[in-house]
């Protein structure tokens, strides 16, 4: 029981990661691919934060009456990663918009077909 509760986080993280991965490799729609990438990214964030947690710990901001703080280092890494993540997502979406304008579609197959028919 303790083993299951202690690893539930990691298993859900892996499940989410695989769901995101599956979306990226099996779906042809570019917007959906980006959503899948974001799910993958979110699972990595959750993994890091799960690792940083300490039982009966508290938020890493010094305050009277608290002794155990959770590990601040993964928080820093993930905090910046989230902002960078949204920046890259925006870049990907901008590319999708330009692809739509150039090809008239956002389905991967149709883009391939148009490329080959030239």
């Amino acid at each position: 029981m303790e083993f299951i509760l202690g690893h539930y986080n990691y298993w859900v993280v892996i499940f989410l990661m695989m769901v995101g991965f599956y979306t990226v490799i099996s779906r042809g729609n570019l917007v959906k691919k980006i959503v899948g990438l974001n799910v993958f990214q979110g699972s990595v964030f959750l993994l890091y934060i799960s690792i940083s947690t300490i039982e009966k710990g508290t938020v890493p901001i010094l305050k009277e009456g608290f002794e155990v703080y959770s590990n601040p280092l993964p928080h820093v890494l993930i905090l910046t990663a989230i902002v960078v993540g949204v920046a890259t997502t925006a870049l990907g979406l901008a590319l999708v918009v330009r692809i739509k304008e150039a090809y008239g579609t956002i389905e991967e197959d149709e883009i391939h077909r148009q490329d080959h028919s030239l």
């Binding site: 508290t58 938020v59 901001i61 305050k63 009456g65």
Partner: protein
């Protein structure tokens, strides 16, 4: 005692999530997402008091704000997208102010 409130909020979240998953119309989903956001705000507020860290209330505040802006943005898209399916689709610009 906090645990009773927490469980109540979690049940509500589950019901709202179910509506968001099933929702026959777009508006049902938006209403469910809005409710979900409000419940998350409450959950964080309750958790902040339970754990004795009132700093977390800032996060609840940001949630309330972002949730509102998100709903307005979604409505913008839905409304304009359905009204102007012709050439003049200016989803994010206001009708009165667009050139």
């Amino acid at each position: 005692m906090y645990i009773a409130v927490t469980i109540a909020i979690l049940i509500t979240m589950a019901l709202a999530l179910a509506r968001a998953l099933m929702g026959p119309t777009v508006y049902d989903r938006i209403a469910a997402v809005n409710m979900f956001g409000t419940k998350t705000v409450l959950l964080i507020a309750v958790f902040a008091f339970f754990s004795g860290r009132a700093d977390l209330l800032d996060i609840a505040l940001v949630y309330a704000l972002i949730n509102f802006i998100g709903v307005i943005a979604v409505l913008r898209l839905v409304e304009q997208g359905e009204f102007h399916s012709g050439s003049e689709v200016c989803t994010k610009t206001d009708k009165t102010n667009s050139e």
